[in-house]
């Protein structure tokens, strides 16, 4: 036997393979799990815990290695743009960490109850993370489609996990909308291929750097359609009405981990906007629309969260607001603000995830009819009418106290109230927007950020009070230790993010600076020799 392929230079060190592990490891473990009997829950839980821990560890190692720019992994040893490459840069490493943290906490949370509610939870869960990781890593547009589909398919499974009418009804709409989005994705990608002849993102950027060709218009139509697919996934108004219903219906750990799904859409929009439309023949393409979509999403999310009748829906709308914030920031074109928005994205995603978990604990076993009681109108009381008022403090069960802290922290995070990371993120965005003369879009965004903060604070406080303070005949919520660990993990990261806001923001700044220099990305992926030269 004589090998005839394998002529390209080999990968040098074993740890270079780390880049592909976030995808390969979950598949392999999921494969093993499918061979195990459904009743071996402990083994499965241990396996998935180990895997998710490993994923987080890998993500952290990768964060440590992206200082130099980007690390490129050529799958099948085929060079870009022909083969598929995985690219780890600051942005993708950051997103991997986010996925790892959220995944770990959601998984730990699921150990208490949800892991047993339906078959093959762990396998689906791992494959969802694999899809998310793949989407963050890939440098190829069609491969991105594939990972989107993996992620969505697993999310369909997780949304439907546990069955029940509400889930199935929500799942139906969710699947239909996302199927359409996937078809848009395909149309967009294929149009781009048909006009540019490539699928590799870096190659696309390189081809766009040359003066506009006759195909520019068709290419931009393709980008518009493709962009719309991403906007659907990140639930921008008016394309994202599916999100609150779906996330509210999903089981808590599923909803928590789904919080990152919409961020994958955001990630891609950020990635492609800065890579393809930062400069070159299509510079600035769609920016105004992204700003408009972002502001509209923030507005609609705020309206929705104000209208929310329960915490899960509120959390869903919080996810929307956070997506809208990032889109709008991207639309203003301010690099400093974008860095803040990335930082904010990280924290708000974790907080939204935590809120889904909290909501589940608080709302399970509660009378659903109560959710519909009036908000303010009938609660009016004479402030000094103390007849019948009980001026006796209630000793809180530890569970309630901890849940209260949790709800409070989530509220502060999402509303951007000090001292948590939500505030720091908004501060960074404000500072970025106020760097240099303040433009009209910047004013709009500042107003939107402030109003959405207020709009988030009010309903979350209202819902928190209803769930924690209003005396109820229902048994007090029970908090299992694994559930507590999951919540504590998420909120601790939010706290740490604020405490070490300096380094975190520096990372975000460096990320945006890197993204604003797409030629470095192109060089990293295609190699210096190919730059500017057609093969």
């Amino acid at each position: 036997m004589s090998p005839t392929a394998l002529s390209a230079p080999a990968v040098s060190a074993w740890d270079d393979h780390l880049v592909v592990l976030p995808v390969v490891l979950p598949i392999a473990v999921a494969g093993v799990m499918f061979l195990l009997d459904e009743r071996r829950r402990r083994l499965k839980a241990a396996l998935s815990l180990a895997t998710v821990l490993a994923l987080l560890a890998i993500a952290l190692v990768l964060v440590g290695r992206v200082d130099a720019g980007a690390q490129v992994y050529r799958l099948g040893n085929w060079a870009a743009p022909y083969g598929i490459v995985l690219v780890v840069d600051r942005l993708s490493a950051l997103m991997l960490v986010l996925a790892g943290v959220l995944g770990l906490c959601a998984l730990v949370f699921s150990f208490a109850r949800w892991g047993q509610a339906g078959p093959r939870f762990h396998g689906l869960f791992l494959l969802l993370l694999m899809g998310v990781n793949g989407a963050f890593l890939t440098g190829d547009l069609f491969n991105l489609f594939v990972f989107f589909e993996v992620m969505l398919a697993a999310s369909y499974g997780l949304v439907l996990h546990g069955s029940g009418e509400v889930r199935i009804r929500a799942g139906l709409g969710y699947i239909a909308v996302n199927l359409v989005a996937s078809l848009f994705f395909l149309v967009g990608v294929s149009l781009i291929y048909g006009t540019m002849g490539t699928l590799n993102m870096a190659d696309l950027a390189r081809r766009l750097a040359t003066p506009a060709s006759g195909e520019q218009a068709l290419f931009e139509v393709g980008c518009a359609v493709l962009g719309l697919a991403f906007l659907i996934k990140c639930s921008a108004w008016p394309l994202g009405f599916w999100l609150p219903t779906t996330y509210a219906a999903a089981s808590a750990p599923a909803a928590a981990v789904l919080a990152i799904l919409s961020k994958v859409g955001i990630y891609v929009v950020v990635r492609l906007s800065l890579l393809l439309f930062g400069a070159g023949s299509s510079a600035g393409f769609g920016q105004t629309w992204i700003l408009a979509a972002g502001l509209a999403t923030m507005a609609y999310g705020t309206v929705g969260i104000l209208a929310a009748r329960d915490l899960t829906r509120a959390a869903g709308y919080a996810v929307m607001i956070s997506s809208g914030t990032l889109l709008a920031t991207l639309g203003t074109g301010s690099g400093g603000a974008l860095a803040g928005a990335l930082y904010y994205l990280f924290g708000s995603t974790l907080a939204a995830g935590a809120l889904f978990l909290l909501a589940e604990i608080l709302q399970r076993g509660r009378d659903p009819a109560r959710a519909d009681q009036p908000v303010f109108a009938d609660e009016y009381r004479d402030p000094f009418d103390d007849a019948g008022a009980t001026e006796v403090g209630r000793a809180l069960p530890a569970a309630v106290a901890l849940l209260g802290i949790g709800v409070l922290l989530c509220t502060l995070m999402l509303a951007g109230i000090p001292p948590l990371a939500g505030f720091v993120g908004k501060l960074a965005m404000f500072t970025g927007l106020a760097a240099g003369p303040i433009t009209a879009p910047a004013w709009w965004l500042i107003a939107a950020l402030t109003l959405s903060s207020f709009g988030t604070l009010m309903p979350l406080v209202r819902l928190g009070i209803r769930n924690l303070w209003v005396p109820s005949d229902d048994p007090p919520p029970v908090l299992r230790s694994t559930e507590f660990a999951a919540l504590a993990g998420l909120l601790a990261v939010c706290l740490a993010l604020a405490l070490w806001g300096g380094p975190a923001l520096a990372y975000a700044d460096a990320t945006v600076r890197w993204l604003e220099q797409p030629q470095d990305y192109v060089r990293a992926v295609l190699g210096a020799a190919q730059e500017g030269v057609r093969p």
Binding site: M1, A5, A10, I27, A28, G31, M33, F34, Y82, I84, G118, P119, G123, M130, F142, V146, E149, A153, L160, S163, G173, V180, F184, L191, Y193, M196, L199, E215, A217, L218, E220, V221, V225, P238, W242, Y300, V303, G304, F376, R381, D382, F384, A389, V392, G393, R394, I417, P418, P419, A434, I438, T450, S453, F454, L457, V461, G501, G502, R534, P535
Partner: protein, 976 residues
């Protein structure tokens, strides 16, 4: 200890204490109070020790990096002003701790109260010691949050919850504005550092952003210090335990807004805008607060409105563009804190000992608690501005400022008049408070028999009243130097000359003061009885105007409006959502195309027209339109038409050089048709004959027209794009490389397959994951599937078969059905190995010729499917043990291992290996790792598609088992 360390210790101690105290057991009252008290005293000690360091207009600063990229540091900065406020916060805090120890009931979980209280102290110190604008915002919001928790301490109490929420809503909203304002100031100055900002007054005032920054900062300050119209939260906050009201809502937190205005007075004041906003707010608040206080029946209500009024007074002073007014403001802040805190505590004692705070029920308490009554009366006199007490001094300064600032504008002219009026009101409600509570007939019908409280509970009041008197008598010996330091810290070189003496001679302020005192008494004499009998304590003229209620209405309206808007701006209905999706994509594509002047029909390449191809597409189009038309009432027909459309699609692929696609398309088509039919069985009967309501018909028609337009234009758009791309010359892209390198580099002649299993194998790996996931999801979902009741019965056809068999003596049940399938069974059974063979063939040849693992897998699935169709699920499963989930797992593992094998050779994942093996006889046999990968695909495809199929097929079995009786009932009904 160096001053910086002392400062940091003082700032940190309350937070540490807060964390420590919550660890105490729930009813450890003494331990909690002791700990809290010690923390307060220790921190106070630290601050006290720092007095020499700040005396003489010095500052002490300590800083720590936090967010360097944003220019945000944690800076503790102590100067005269912050020293005075810190002492106020900690001193009154220590007294409140002592008071609360005896005030709170034994059942109250006191450690939690002290935990919040200490956290509040920390936050408040954070504000006053803040040397950075952002840090100030952080602690500002922290006080709002802790205040929320403190007001809601008795959370079982509905008014506590409402009060807490309202306070938070208003103050946090103000905080958000303050935040933006601070960012703007930072933008103007270029730094968030307080010292830098304080040195940049001219730059700030001359900036075009001055007005927005001012408005936003004041929004923060005025909400926090309960200025009209934001004052409404303060009376509601009285639902908090009285020590908290005394501390937060009279002495400290509300003073944070005042502090902010004093702190930024040098840089923000001195403009028309400042004068009008701050002055007007202060004036209105002072009058409205005093007026409302007059009519309160609740002691705490009276004190709350009185607080509002006094805060208005201070604000008004700050609004006047006069350094001397600033002095008066600082002085009155201190004075108000002392007398109001003591009054709250006294009211708390009364409440505690009698069980009520309603002045209409209280009277003659002098007899039962003379000592407390005396203290309360002194404090009330201070509040009213009676000479020899501290309140008198600052009110004199206020009236002097009012007179001095009386200008030519009508409002300026009105200033002394209104100031005197407000003072008269203050006198009125002070008199009413004393008269109603302590004098008159002996109380009767009180919940508890009144008596003096325990000794320790009175000590804080005694101390505060002592301070009131001491300052009132010898201001220069007591408050004088401290006030001077504070004033110097604020005004610096603009510090005016002033004199804190009791006697300034006969002058206008004194005259006004006398008028106010006498006027107040007179007013009480005239109106006292009517005020006391005023129901509910609503102020005259403003009886209907309940700000709190309006606010709640507004909030309710906001939520109701949001709910309506949510429905108008969004929809939960899938059809609407999809319509929007398609409309948006249409719009986006058109906009993008128009923006670049897209010409869809630019002349270009074309392939020779073939009429047969066109005719085939006529068939395809007819099938598609037919399916669209029939899908509602004739599902089976529509399914058939979709099959026809699929066939045309398959033939098109073939015609246009894509045999792999054609093979896959036709296989998928077959499986999809069977799956659709498996599902069709569970759908409800749909009958066109059932008429719909007339209104519904019209609406439905309109909807259909809209949908038709959307569908038509979208179809046209896609067609246009396809045409445009197809007629343009091919782009010199990556395709050629694949064709050239597929054989030499990857050893495969079928370039498409090489792409799938080698060049782009990663896509394929993802794709099979999707398939596996979907298979599992389907399985999980169908495990809990319950058919709708109207689908439970056996299909009509089977029922009639059974009836036929039952009616004939020579036939056994099920025989008719079996006879019908006799021949199909034989054919399908014997076809089985041949289809397996076909699958194997497709799999093995994939790398070089059309086929591949996916096609092979689907073919194999069809082989299984045919067996299920011929023989039924039970028969097949008695013979073939299919474990689809395990197949999925094996498929994934094989594919991953095939990819990971290359790691052993130091190559990236999925690096394919191929070689030619030349065994004897057989000639050159290609050996490629891609084949192993393809095997994984095939195994997984079989597993996943068989899983879906089996799961769906089993529903009928389950139905048979679970609803046997139901079926029989239906059958009887049919035959009858």
């Amino acid at each position: 200890m160096p001053p910086q360390l002392l400062l940091a210790t003082a700032a940190l101690l309350p937070f540490l204490g807060s964390a420590a105290v919550i660890c105490l057991p729930g009813h450890a009252r003494n331990a909690a109070a002791l700990l809290a008290g010690l923390v307060m005293v220790a921190a106070l000690g630290c601050i006290g020790l720092l007095y020499p360091a700040v005396a003489g207009a010095n500052t002490v600063a300590w800083s720590l990096d936090w967010l360097p990229t944003l220019g945000v540091q944690i800076v503790l900065r102590l100067d005269g002003l912050s020293w005075l406020f810190a002492v106020l916060v900690l001193g009154i805090g220590a007294l409140v701790v002592l008071y609360a120890r005896y005030y709170m009931a034994a059942e109250d979980p006191v450690p939690r109260l002290f935990c919040y209280l200490l956290a509040f102290v920390g936050a408040m110190l954070g504000i006053v010691l803040s040397g950075n604008l952002i840090q100030l915002v952080v602690f500002w919001e922290l006080t709002s949050i802790v205040s929320f928790l403190l007001i809601g301490y008795w959370s079982d109490n509905a008014s506590a919850r409402d009060g807490a929420r309202m306070a938070l809503t208003i103050t946090a909203a103000g905080g958000l504005c303050l935040f933006v304002g601070m960012v703007l100031i930072g933008h103007i100055v270029g730094s968030y550092d307080l010292s830098v900002v304080l040195a940049s007054g001219d730059a700030i005032r001359s900036s075009p952003l001055y007005l927005p920054a001012l408005v936003l900062v004041l929004a923060g300050a005025l909400t926090k210090s309960a200025q009209f119209p934001f004052h409404i939260w303060l009376p509601r906050a009285m639902a908090a335990p009285t020590p908290i009201s005394a501390y937060l809502h009279s002495a400290t937190m509300v003073k944070a807004g005042i502090f902010l205005m004093i702190r930024f007075w040098p840089v923000l004041a001195g403009t028309e805008s400042w004068y009008w906003i701050v002055g007007t707010a202060g004036m209105v608040t002072m009058l409205v607060g005093a007026w409302s206080a007059i009519f309160q029946h609740d002691l705490k209500g009276l004190l709350a409105y009185s607080t509002i009024s006094h805060l208005g007074l201070i604000t008004l002073l700050l609004g006047l563009d006069s350094p001397l007014a600033v002095v008066a403001a600082i002085f009155h802040t201190v004075n108000h804190a002392t007398f109001k805190a003591s009054l709250f505590m006294a009211a708390g004692i009364i409440d505690h000992e009698t069980g009520t705070r309603d002045m209409r029920r209280l009277s003659g308490l002098w007899r039962a608690m003379p000592y407390t009554a005396t203290l309360a009366m002194v404090a009330a006199a201070a509040m009213a501005g009676v000479p020899l007490l501290n309140g008198f001094l600052s009110k004199e300064m206020f009236l002097a400022e009012a007179v001095d600032n009386a200008g030519d504008h009508w409002l300026n002219l009105a200033l002394p008049v209104l100031a005197t009026l407000a003072s008269a009101f203050t006198m009125l409600y002070s008199v009413r408070f004393i008269r109603q509570t302590f004098f008159g007939a002996a109380p009767h019908d009180l919940p508890h028999a009144p008596h003096e409280p325990v000794r320790w509970m009175r000590i804080p009041i005694e101390f505060l009243v002592f301070v009131c008197i001491a300052i009132g008598l010898v201001p220069n010996l007591t408050i004088g130097p401290l006030l001077a330091e504070a004033v110097r810290a604020v005004l610096g070189p603009r510090t005016p000359d002033y004199d804190l003496a009791i006697w300034h001679g006969f002058n206008a302020p004194l005259a006004l003061s006398v008028v106010a005192l006498l006027g107040g008494v007179a007013l009480y004499v005239v109106f006292g009885r009517r005020i006391n009998s005023n129901p509910r304590g609503g102020p005259w003229l403003m009886d209907r105007l309940d700000g709190g209620r309006l606010f709640e209405r507004a909030m309710t309206g906001l939520v109701t409006g949001a709910r309506a808007l949510e429905g108008h701006l969004g929809s939960e209905r899938l059809q609407v959502q999809l319509r929007i999706l398609f409309l948006t994509v249409l719009l986006a594509a058109v906009l993008a195309g128009v923006a670049r002047g897209l010409d869809l029909f630019a002349p270009g390449n074309s392939t020779d027209f073939d009429p047969a191809f066109a005719l085939m597409w006529v068939v395809g189009a007819a099938c598609a339109v037919g399916a669209a038309e029939r899908a509602k009432y004739h599902r089976l027909s529509a399914t058939i038409f979709v099959g026809g459309a699929g066939l045309v699609s398959c033939l098109t692929f073939l015609w246009l050089s894509a045999p792999d696609l054609a093979v896959t398309q036709i296989l998928v088509e077959i499986v999809t048709t069977v799956l659709l039919l498996l599902g069709l069985r569970w759908l409800p009967k749909r009958d066109a004959a059932i008429p719909a309501p007339a209104a519904e018909v019209v609406r439905a028609r309109r909807r259909r027209i809209v949908d038709l337009c959307i569908a038509g234009f979208a179809g046209l758009g896609l067609a246009g794009l396809a045409y445009a791309v197809m007629t343009r010359p091919a782009v010199d892209g990556i395709a050629r490389w694949f064709v050239e390198e597929a054989y030499p580099r990857a050893g495969g002649r079928n370039v498409v397959n090489v792409l799938l299993v080698d060049f782009r194998a990663f896509d394929t790996l993802g794709e099979i994951c999707v398939l596996g996931i979907v298979g599992l999801t389907v399985f999980a979902l169908l495990r809990r599937f319950r058919p709708a009741s109207d689908s439970l019965g056996r299909p009509r056809q089977q029922v009639s078969h059974d009836a036929y068999d039952a009616a004939r003596a020579d036939r056994s049940p099920g025989e008719t059905a079996a006879d019908a399938l006799l021949v199909p069974r034989v054919v399908m059974t014997w076809l089985f190995p041949f289809i397996v063979l076909l699958a194997l063939h497709l799999f093995l040849r994939g790398h070089d010729l059309p086929g591949g693992g996916f096609a092979g897998g689907i073919a194999l699935t069809i082989a299984f499917m045919l067996q299920y169709m011929a023989q039924g699920a039970e028969w097949v499963e008695a013979r073939l043990r299919i474990q689809p989930i395990a197949w999925i797992g094996i498929g994934l593992l094989v594919a991953v291992l095939a990819g990971a094998g290359s790691w052993l050779f130091g190559r990236p994942f999925l690096t394919a290996y191929f070689a030619y093996w030349e065994p004897p006889l057989l000639g050159k046999v290609p050996v490629a790792s891609a084949l192993l990968f393809d095997l994984g695909i095939m195994v997984l495809v079989v597993g996943a598609s068989a899983l879906m199929l089996v799961a769906l097929a089993h529903q009928s079995l389950r139905r048979t088992r679970s609803a046997e009786a139901e079926a029989e009932r239906v059958a009887e009904g049919e035959t009858a």
